[in-house]
Symmetry: C2
């Protein structure tokens, strides 16, 4: 595994791989790697000759009151995990390398963002799209891997690749979970011991919703209430949202039908957790 | 020369060239080719193995009261000129191919645009940047060629490539002129016979300004007045602007020094013409 911190070096390196006819799989991350990231890397390794991992905590996608400074970082541990996962190139630029001067062009995501996390994190996906445009042009991958835990991010990246014709295949990878069902996340470390015991109730609620739909429930409202009640009964978390939409369009629906997403976000004392399931409803 | 109308075919073709180690020079145009475009193609042919020309009249860069429908089109003539100029691949998509659905992401150019043409054409460069992002991802060139006649466009594209790390070298090409000095443009066909005779006065005014600077004039105001007077005296055109800035930053200056641009835009009956010179002032 080589570690590259410079954009120009990275582009030269990637050009060489392309000239050799190698396929390139890319996993963009903010580091503090966990099994969710490893699942993305495993997929990338299966499908490509070269696996590229980027680690960059992107200030543009954090709001003014969000946890950019507090976001956990551990490069030594990340390097070990990356090597173990078969990464060939680790791209690890600093903020001055990625944003050496104010941008002359602003990207504004106008669809699929006024719901779910986009609603409570204004500008978040604008920052995600900006850094991904840069990373796509730096890494020039054939395939890019994103976890379905951030289902809205997958929908936005799908729009980015489609609208601007990036020659990249988007590969969504299923959410990796702890044994008790809690979705893996860098932010789980902020949970108190008691909160950590309650947190699997998010997935529990989603599984209850799934069961109800399989038993014939077709009302989004009924499912929403079921999920809210379950979380309220089983946790001390504040519910940020419980929402149900068509997927990946993220449009409100009158009745459950076709591909839908049920998504939740809650706040514990020091951590905001999200989870979702997507379902094909007959 | 092959003509490609489909984005997917184009990306496959360009990928093949890249895998063969060929370098790709790209000239994006709106067609109705003239010697200005041919100069770009000649440069591209000198510096690259493969020359790609795109012809696409981009609706996004026209304002609601601008001449999108009236913009001249002549594909047969363009094809002949392209072949003669040594173009290998002509990319000629229609609007439905380039914009099959509303974009989910808007690009807003925030620097270098509140002056010159950007000021009188709000949103114009947002449309230019959107289509160029798409074309860059479709053609995947090593070098892209733009004429200095649209000096502001060159400045904006410089920002685009720099900010989003497109692995593309921007090559600005000097303005090509008629024998009497008039800058070549698709819009020159809209001039009446009398207006065509007056139009070289734009370049005449810029040459007078250059001479005055060489004789020691350092006041932007004095140069601006000189250019305005000259155009008013020699044409019936309405002056849209005569502006002087640092280049490529396009910032106002107190005194002529360093690299500067003197740019003019005027309106004749059925055509708006622009011209400029850039100078290194000691």
């Amino acid at each position: 595994m080589i570690v590259v911190t410079n954009i120009h070096d990275m582009q030269q390196k990637m050009n060489q791989f392309r000239l050799q006819g190698k396929t390139i799989g890319f996993v963009p991350t903010m580091g503090y790697l966990h099994e969710g990231h490893v699942a993305l890397l495993n997929e990338a390794r299966k499908q490509n000759d070269i696996v590229v991992l980027s680690i960059f905590v992107n200030p543009l996608q954090f709001g003014p009151n969000e946890d950019f400074d507090r976001y956990p970082r551990d490069m030594k541990r990340d390097e070990a995990i990356a090597k173990e996962a078969g990464v060939h190139v680790l791209f690890y630029p600093d903020v001055a390398e990625m944003y050496p001067h104010p941008l002359s062009i602003k990207t504004v995501v106008t669809e699929r963002v006024d719901v779910l996390c986009g609603k409570s994190r204004p500008g978040h996906f604008d920052g995600v799209v900006t850094v991904l445009m840069k990373l796509f042009n730096i890494v020039m991958p054939h395939r890019a891997y994103f976890g379905m835990k951030d289902a809205q991010q997958v929908a936005v990246v799908d729009g980015l690749i489609r609208d601007f014709n990036f020659p990249i295949e988007l590969i969504p990878v299923p959410t990796v979970r702890e044994e008790d069902g809690l979705a893996k996340s860098s932010r789980n470390v902020y949970l108190s011991e008691a909160e950590r015991k309650e947190a699997p109730a998010l997935y529990g609620a989603l599984q209850r919703a799934k069961a109800a739909i399989e038993e014939g429930e077709r009302s989004p409202n009924a499912i929403q209430n079921l999920v809210i009640d379950y979380i309220k009964t089983h946790t001390h978390a504040d519910i940020d949202y419980v929402e149900i939409y068509s997927y990946p369009e993220l449009k409100p629906i009158e009745e459950l039908s076709g591909k839908v997403i049920i998504a939740v976000a809650v706040r514990f004392t020091n951590a905001r957790l999200i989870d979702n399931i997507t379902l094909d409803v007959e």
